[in-house]
Symmetry: C2
């Protein structure tokens, strides 16, 4: 009876961790979507909302850190139980950094909101954003279902985001070369595009963590890269 | 007698963690220095050495993670002992990312090694690098001595790095506007400068961790920013 209670209680602790991760994922996705809307719509007010949303994400990460430490000390978990706990800690770190990247895009959006020039490269940035959010959403589903194969599929698809970033990079450079007045503005967009690519890096980190929780093994070799990628993530 | 043995053994575990952090710090600093030499000297071979050095840093971070989890499970530490363990985990994460940033600079150095044009902005980048490495070195000393005041001084000085980055940013933009042929090259330098600023962010994270280990409190409010900073870290 006591043992069963202990087992249930550990499950309850895992479930609480899972709920916090899930809340973090939802906040990170919303921050990204709002940051892109703020950028495309030159909406400084929305940008400020994204910036202030980041505090909740930071607080949740600290909560997850405290919970994982408490669970390790109390349960001394091994094998898959330990991987679950370490996995939650790693994923919360990646989601917190996705929030930082969204916040950075929002800061740039607020900065250039008055510029009034939106180059065609914005279309490429929007595609990057859509793919990055789809990937993040997918990997969080893979985590919720502890689905190693689905996580691996997300991981493999990151090459597409790298290729997209490469083409946005070239497009923005062309735009800068055509007219020097575009340079400052496009430089901010270059950094936004790099931020979206880094969101993809954190998504692949999460995919690796899900695969590791489920199988106890790392994913094979180096993460794939788009053939056209500059590989300068 | 048994208790004393336990105490000694916990100290020995902390010492081992400290040695790993110290090794990580040494590798990260060398990677940064070599990456900048590779960039300034257009040395693709040195750049490749930096890129391959990163694997050791990643392996050490995993080792620290395993050790901290084992110590938490075995000792169930509280108060300052727990802060020591969590602190080691956080610092190893920051140092691993400093290595990633150095690796990224090295990749860009390898990429532009054949360009043959080195703008005056390289002087600014070199100053940023020197300050970033000095700060990193200082905060690792503060950690080794568990010196909260020294950590706070490093943390306050980060504003200088932000100001320097801002001036390098403006300098590179001017260079790009003067001659479109500089744009591609300078874009890589812009990202290098951003990477050095992010090294400073990780240094301030470490400073916050040292302060937290020693005092159990966070550093006051938001981290300071250079007055001229674009605040787009």
């Amino acid at each position: 009876m006591v043992e069963q209670h202990t087992v249930r209680s550990f499950d309850a602790e895992l479930e609480l961790l899972g709920r916090h991760i899930s809340e973090m994922g939802g906040i990170a996705e919303k921050m990204l979507a709002d940051a892109m809307d703020a950028l495309a719509g030159m909406n400084a007010e929305l940008a400020r909302q994204v910036i202030s949303a980041d505090a909740r994400l930071d607080a949740l990460q600290r909560t997850v850190e405290e919970e994982t430490v408490a669970v390790i000390a109390r349960r001394q978990p091994v094998a898959v139980d330990l991987r679950e706990i370490i996995g939650a800690l790693r994923i919360s770190g990646d989601l917190e950094r996705v929030g930082d990247l969204a916040k950075n895009i929002a800061k740039r959006a607020a900065k250039i909101a008055g510029e009034g020039r939106m180059p065609r490269a914005m279309v490429g940035l929007k595609s990057m954003h859509d793919l990055a959010v789809m990937q993040l959403n997918d990997v969080l589903d893979a985590y919720a279902q502890r689905d190693a194969e689905r996580a691996k599929a997300v991981w493999l698809r990151d090459a597409e985001l790298d290729s997209l970033e490469d083409s946005v990079f070239r497009d923005l450079l062309t735009h800068m070369m055509e007219d020097p007045r575009n340079i400052t503005f496009c430089t901010h967009l270059l950094f936004c595009s790099k931020n979206l690519e880094r969101v993809g890096d954190h998504t692949t980190n999460i995919a690796e963590t899900v695969f590791y929780i489920r199988t106890g093994r790392p994913l094979p070799n180096e993460r794939p890269r788009g053939a056209a990628s500059t590989d300068l993530a």
